[in-house]
């Protein structure tokens, strides 16, 4: 049965310019991933990849990979990226432009904002089933925490805790003030 399994295994999957992105926001852009789920060959390699295309000013909210290092290679355009370590220190605060690479270690928190009309990147991840935890927006850690825990952990008033928890529902967005500038 080898010819039915290993010999015929699919070894190619296109994630660039995909017509079926996994995450899509007409204003912000698109993200497509290849993981061990949809591309079984990656299960053997214990690796995965993500292709992203961000429109101008589009932002990826602060997030981290629970189980993988991430190696981000810029394909086109440029983005402003910040990376924070466990001490709360900003260990990268700068532009990533075409041809450059940035390594973000497991659990280090990263956020990005596109500075060009299109910022395209590919991120190689050192796990075939990478899991990402977001710190803002839908299904984020903040939204999944009880309001009183947020209030007491961050030393906030109740109304402030509500704003932190409920004000943004997006992980991938063009910030409201950028939207209004664009309309103007």
């Amino acid at each position: 049965g080898l010819e039915e399994t290993i010999c015929t295994v699919r070894l190619r999957m296109n994630i660039g310019k995909s017509s079926s992105p996994d995450i899509f926001n007409p204003q912000a852009g698109r993200i497509k991933t290849a993981t061990g789920f949809d591309f079984p060959a990656l299960r053997f390699l214990k690796l995965s990849a993500e292709h992203g295309s961000l429109n101008r000013n589009a932002m990826v909210v602060p997030h981290y990979n629970l189980n993988a290092n991430s190696i981000i290679y810029a394909l086109r355009g440029r983005a402003w990226i910040q990376v924070v370590n466990c001490k709360g220190n900003r260990i990268f605060d700068g532009e990533l432009e075409e041809g450059q690479v940035l390594i973000v270690p497991q659990n280090f928190v990263v956020a990005a904002r596109s500075m060009s009309d299109k910022f395209n990147y590919v991120a190689f991840k050192t796990n075939d089933m990478p899991t990402m935890a977001k710190l803002a927006g839908a299904t984020s850690e903040i939204q999944a925490m009880p309001l009183e825990v947020i209030q007491n952990a961050f030393n906030l008033e109740r109304e402030q805790a509500k704003q932190v928890k409920f004000n943004n529902r997006f992980n991938f967005l063009v910030p409201p003030r950028e939207q209004s500038q664009r309309r103007a």
């Binding site: 189980n67 928190v109 956020a111 952990a153 961050f154 030393n155 906030l156």
Partner: protein, 263 residues
């Protein structure tokens, strides 16, 4: 691992060698750079929470196993991407925002709690008896893709993380870096304002800028923490074994105000 770490000629019984005080408790640690810990690929800490003490949300770079040596209370773990399955039955304000969150669990003496790497964990002591929790971090696990140094990433506050001083000892000669920050404190204010759609004042609080440093990793919740929890379970003794059964159907809101032990 370096080659000589397990060439141990003699083993020693070790006590914690550092203690960091907080507003409502303290954290003691054993030096993870000690050869015995390095050989085993683990790090150990012991956390004591006084009454109404909330251990601030944090995650670590390796799997954790926490044993409850004493006390009881509640804890939460945040699994990324999972829905908020516990919700208030009523709207908490005029804007129709009702609190929803992931499951909150109870713990008691003798429990073992398994915390996967990168998963945010918080715990709270509602009782008079201090909670003592011994936590093992398995830095040698294949799930940890960083080095053998244990790392704690705090989501809030501006306290020093418990294993940081050992890391500083390890990297001698390097310039003293900023310390005592949470993972929000490293980001620029504008990034956070846009990402969370909040104003600058709240951003400063998220970053722990206005907070006195002695609050630490365990903060006191004035008046007790009130969160939605599943119905209380009643414990019955059957022979010598204690088993849990009998569950009420009515949802309840966990509240620990005053001195009563159980509701």
């Amino acid at each position: 691992q370096q080659q000589n770490e397990c060439q141990l000629e003699r083993l020693n019984a070790l006590k914690p060698d550092n203690r960091i005080e907080s507003e409502a408790g303290y954290i003691e640690t054993w030096n993870p750079t000690n050869n015995q810990f390095r050989c085993a690929g683990v790090a150990l800490s012991r956390c004591t929470l006084r009454r109404n003490g909330l251990k601030r949300p944090s995650y670590s770079n390796a799997p954790q196993e926490i044993f409850i040596q004493q006390g009881s209370g509640i804890f939460g773990m945040i699994f990324p991407g999972c829905p908020e399955t516990v919700e208030e039955p009523f709207e908490s304000d005029q804007q129709g925002r009702r609190d929803r969150h992931q499951k909150v669990n109870r713990f008691r003496e003798g429990d073992v709690i398994a915390v996967p790497p990168g998963v945010v964990f918080w715990m709270y002591n509602e009782e008079e008896t201090p909670v003592i929790a011994v936590s093992l971090i398995d830095t040698g696990s294949y799930l940890n893709q960083l080095d053998q140094m244990p790392r704690r990433f705090y989501l809030s506050g501006n306290q020093e993380q418990e294993f940081l001083q050992y890391q500083r000892q390890e990297v001698r000669g390097r310039e003293e870096e900023n310390q005592g920050g949470n993972i929000f404190s490293g980001f620029g204010g504008e990034f956070l304002e846009d990402a969370l759609n909040i104003d600058r004042n709240i951003v400063h609080k998220l970053q722990g800028r206005d907070e006195e440093q002695d609050k630490g990793a365990i903060v006191r919740v004035k008046g007790g923490l009130s969160v939605i929890t599943p119905p209380e379970r009643q414990s019955h003794r059957r022979g010598s074994e204690e088993e849990e059964d009998e569950e009420e159907d009515r949802p309840s809101r966990h509240q620990s105000r005053g001195g009563s032990r159980r509701n």
